[in-house]
């Protein structure tokens, strides 16, 4: 039996960054808002010392992440293969619970470059149409960098980002990223303190003629009160950041910022343990009437009617719900028609390690975003003609932590066990410098999401199926930029240099790479080619808005959440100032 609840103005599915921002913005506007979250509430006590400093529990057994015994996805590299379930987490770690992945993220918070927002035009203009590989679905974003700038700014101030501006209103700033788009003002907080690795990376990349800048961080470099009056503490460089909740309240996370700010409004209510199983549509399929959910505590089923449905269930959850509910036409790679599931992208990431006999890095003193970056090889900041691929990467030093189960390295040639292994581990743990290459990834015709024909989740619903592989473009990018990073490491004069291991097809779902899954319900100008319009409103069911990196037409060489936050504020603004006055499609086709 289903209990039908009282109608509300807005129902939000998922309570991470996107859901929290929407809850705050729309309840501020006076609407009655209900936030449904499949996972548990979070309390401060849960993240207290010493219990939170448990690498096994949080970083190996994955306590804060999605529980794949209830719902997972199936995976294959190409359509000709049989997809099989991801039986354990690996390549990416979606969140679950109030605050979503924002609880246990690193906090590396970027803006995309202006080129990223107009990628197809930029590539065609500079290199010509024939430069674009045949199956690459390259598109301009449907909003420009300049349009999004105030919303990037808003997210950065709410999240208290520590960083150094590189371009304020067109004037290049010493010590910042000279390649970035113009911003209205400085970051709200100064950069974090550098580690030894940061200093070495800065010195060497300066010498090589590159332009290092401190990585923008949602780890507070000083105590901070955000524009909503929410107080955050000072980062302790504890090295238990990504995969963990922050004991010091120093990592901007939705459960300590936007969600409590929204909860000040009596017209917002938050329901944890509520698993949304579908968006209900009116008989004509053109209007959503609300959502159905199951209490994971009691198994009871509820129907929550609402005038407006906002999906904030992470890209995967959003696309899954759209496919399950019949919102938009599923993408078919063979005929290249349909839009839902199209444009799934990931990150082409590699790691470089260098070992220094005489340097003490104290790796356990680190923070989720601590490091120094160069953007000289990101976006279209360099000439792609000679290298023959599209895209780029941020290349950076990483001082994230030295948790010994996962964060230790030994020079190449070391045996994997025994006394020699032990000697090398003892010798090099404190003497390893870590660098990463975070490469972009372009949409490709045969990389997509749809419903699996065989496997089901705990609610009896089909799992989502991922078909994904690295392309020639990815391999070229990774070969070139991993070499650049390797050369930077060599220029530092290490005792030993780790191996050069660029990404190659086939992509594997086993080793962790990043939780930067994008696309699947992309935003665009053309309803035949995109699931969402430029306000992240469904073209097909206009009282459904879909927030998250699923809207990205491609994944850039940056972490996504700066742009995800900006897009959410941008869409919330459109709902408040445009949609509410005249509910219906914000753009006509």
């Amino acid at each position: 039996m289903t209990t039908k609840l009282k109608e509300v103005d807005v129902v939000i599915v998922g309570m991470g960054w996107t859901g929290g921002i929407m809850a705050k913005e729309l309840s501020d506007a006076g609407l009655t808002v209900v936030g449904l979250e499949r996972g548990a509430p979070r309390s401060d006590a849960g993240f207290s010392v010493p219990m939170i400093r448990d690498e096994l529990r949080y970083a190996v057994r994955n306590e804060l992440f999605m529980d794949v015994s209830r719902d997972t996805l199936t995976f294959r590299n190409k359509p000709a293969e049989r997809a099989l379930p991801m039986r354990r987490l690996g390549s990416f770690l979606p969140g679950e619970g109030v605050g979503g992945a924002g609880v246990h993220w690193n906090g590396q918070t970027y803006r995309l470059s202006p080129h990223d927002h107009a990628l197809r035009s930029r590539v065609e203009g500079r290199y010509g149409k024939s430069f674009i590989p045949q199956d690459m679905q390259l598109a301009d974003w449907p909003m420009s960098y300049a349009e999004l700038e105030p919303y990037y700014d808003k997210f950065e101030y709410v999240a208290g980002i520590s960083g150094k501006a590189g371009n304020i209103a067109g004037r290049i700033q010493e010590g910042g990223n000279p390649f970035e788009g113009p911003r209205a003002r400085e970051y709200p907080n100064p950069p974090l303190k550098p580690s030894l690795a940061s200093e070495m990376f800065t010195e060497t990349t300066n010498k090589l003629g590159y332009h290092p800048f401190p990585r923008p961080a949602a780890n507070m470099s000083r105590p901070y009160t955000n524009p909503d009056g929410i107080q955050l503490g000072e980062c302790q460089y504890c090295g238990f950041c990504e995969n963990f909740g922050c004991e010091a309240n120093a990592k901007a996370s939705p459960h300590i910022t936007v969600i409590p700010a929204a909860l000040r409004n009596k017209n917002f209510s938050l329901k944890p343990y509520a698993w949304v199983t579908r968006v209900n549509l009116a008989p004509d399929g053109k209007r959503a009437t609300g959502v159905s959910y199951t209490s994971v505590l009691t198994g009871e089923e509820f129907e929550q009617p609402a005038s407006l449905v906002i999906l904030c269930a992470y890209g995967f959850g959003n696309v899954h719900l759209m496919l399950l509910s019949g919102i938009g036409k599923p993408y078919d790679p063979v005929s290249d028609t349909g839009t839902v599931g199209k444009g799934y992208c990931y990150q082409v990431a590699t790691v470089v390690q260098a070992f220094f006999d005489d340097r003490n890095f104290n790796p356990f003193m680190g923070a989720g975003s601590l490091g120094v970056v160069i953007d000289d090889f990101n976006g279209d900041n360099f000439d792609h003609g000679p290298v023959g691929y599209i895209g780029g990467a941020s290349i950076y030093s990483a001082s994230l932590g030295g948790r010994p189960i996962n964060q230790r390295a030994v020079p190449p040639g070391t045996p994997r066990w025994g006394t020699e292994w032990k000697k090398a581990t003892a010798r090099w743990y404190n003497h390893t410098l870590q660098m990463s290459v975070q490469g972009s990834n372009m949409a490709s015709r045969y990389n997509y999401l749809d419903l699996d024909p065989t496997y089901r989740n705990a609610f009896g619903l089909p799992l989502m199926r991922m078909t994904y592989n690295f392309t020639d473009n990815d391999e070229k990018l990774s070969a070139h930029l991993t070499t650049v990073a390797h050369d930077i490491a060599r220029a530092m004069g290490p005792t030993h240099l780790g191996p050069k291991t660029p990404r190659r097809a086939p992509y594997s779902i086993v080793p962790y790479q990043s939780t930067h899954n994008t696309g699947g319900a992309i935003a665009g100008h053309d309803p035949g080619k995109s699931a969402l319009n430029r306000y992240l409103q469904s073209w097909d069911v206009p009282n459904v808005f879909v927030m998250g990196a699923n809207a990205f037409p491609h994944n850039s060489g940056y972490n996504p959440t700066g742009a995800v936050g900006a897009l959410t504020y941008w869409a919330a603004d459109a709902i408040r100032t445009k949609y509410l006055k005249d509910p219906g499609p914000l753009l006509h086709t």
Binding site: P50, M51, R53, D54, E55, L56, V60, R61, N62, D67, V68, S69, T72, F75, R76, N77, E81, R82, L84, P85, M86, R87, R88, L89, G90, K193, S195, L196, E234, Q236, Y237, C238, G239, F240, N360, N362, F364, M365, G402, R403, P404, I405, R408, R416, W417, G418, T419, K422, K423, A426, Y429, N430, T454, Y455, R456, P506, Y507, S508, I509, V510
Partner: protein, 226 residues
């Protein structure tokens, strides 16, 4: 190490009904109480295997006592006896197919069952090829077996060698480096090996003061602060 094989000791201990609080080496001065040394999951043959396996990967030397003395076999035993061993947070529904390496773990077995089957299969192999159980092989023979396991080359009945080795290797590293509350990393000797300070991690000042300098502290674990 004692001369008699561990299994015989255990059998003797079992016979006199005193649990298994058997001193295993000179480090016995610091031996934990009997309950902490008793196995919950492994049977006697499996104990012989897992202790020999753990000690092969983490031998006693100038740097640390043996893996068994560090509690790593107890750590693995506890993990297998608990929720993780039974397949918590795994999708275990069928149908099953072998799949590609990129598709990851596809066996219908939760970790505890994988260990049980794999140990039986490795022992069958050792018996057939060397005429002795794994714990009674010469070190060089043991190395051969472990090497072959690690490369997925050991022909095992029923289960893939690679899947078992990958899991067991990861578990040994966990047992060496996880917080001592889980039974391994005894006296924080895994942390001392590398110089990891443990759970006290307020480094806002240290990151400047100790930049580039050694930071020698006695590590602390969860139990030291609770």
């Amino acid at each position: 190490m004692v001369d008699i094989a561990r299994r015989d000791v255990l059998t003797m201990a079992g016979a006199v009904g005193v649990g298994v609080a058997i001193p295993v080496s000179s480090a016995a001065a610091e031996a934990p109480p009997a309950a902490a040394r008793s196995y919950q999951f492994f049977d006697l043959n499996e104990v012989a295997f897992i202790e020999a396996f753990v000690d092969h990967l983490i031998p006693a030397d100038d740097l640390t006592p043996s893996g068994t003395e560090l509690g790593i076999s107890i750590y693995i035993d506890r993990q297998l006896a608990g929720a993780w061993g039974r397949g918590a947070r795994m999708y275990l529904l069928g149908p099953w197919a072998a799949g590609t390496a990129q598709q990851g773990y596809q066996l219908p077995l939760p970790p505890a069952d994988l260990y049980r089957c794999a140990i039986r299969a490795v022992e069958a192999h050792c018996a057939a090829v060397h005429g002795a159980s794994f714990d009674r092989l010469q070190p060089a023979q043991r190395q051969q077996i472990v090497q072959a396991l690690s490369e997925g080359r050991l022909p095992l009945q029923e289960v893939p060698a690679q899947a078992f080795f990958d899991m067991a290797y990861a578990n040994v590293m966990e047992g060496l480096f996880a917080d001592p509350i889980y039974g391994g990393n005894k006296n924080k000797q895994g942390w001392k090996l590398v110089g990891f300070p443990g759970v006290i991690a307020a480094h806002a000042e240290n990151i400047e003061h100790f930049r580039g300098k050694p930071y020698p502290v006695e590590p602390l674990g969860i139990a030291d602060l609770s």
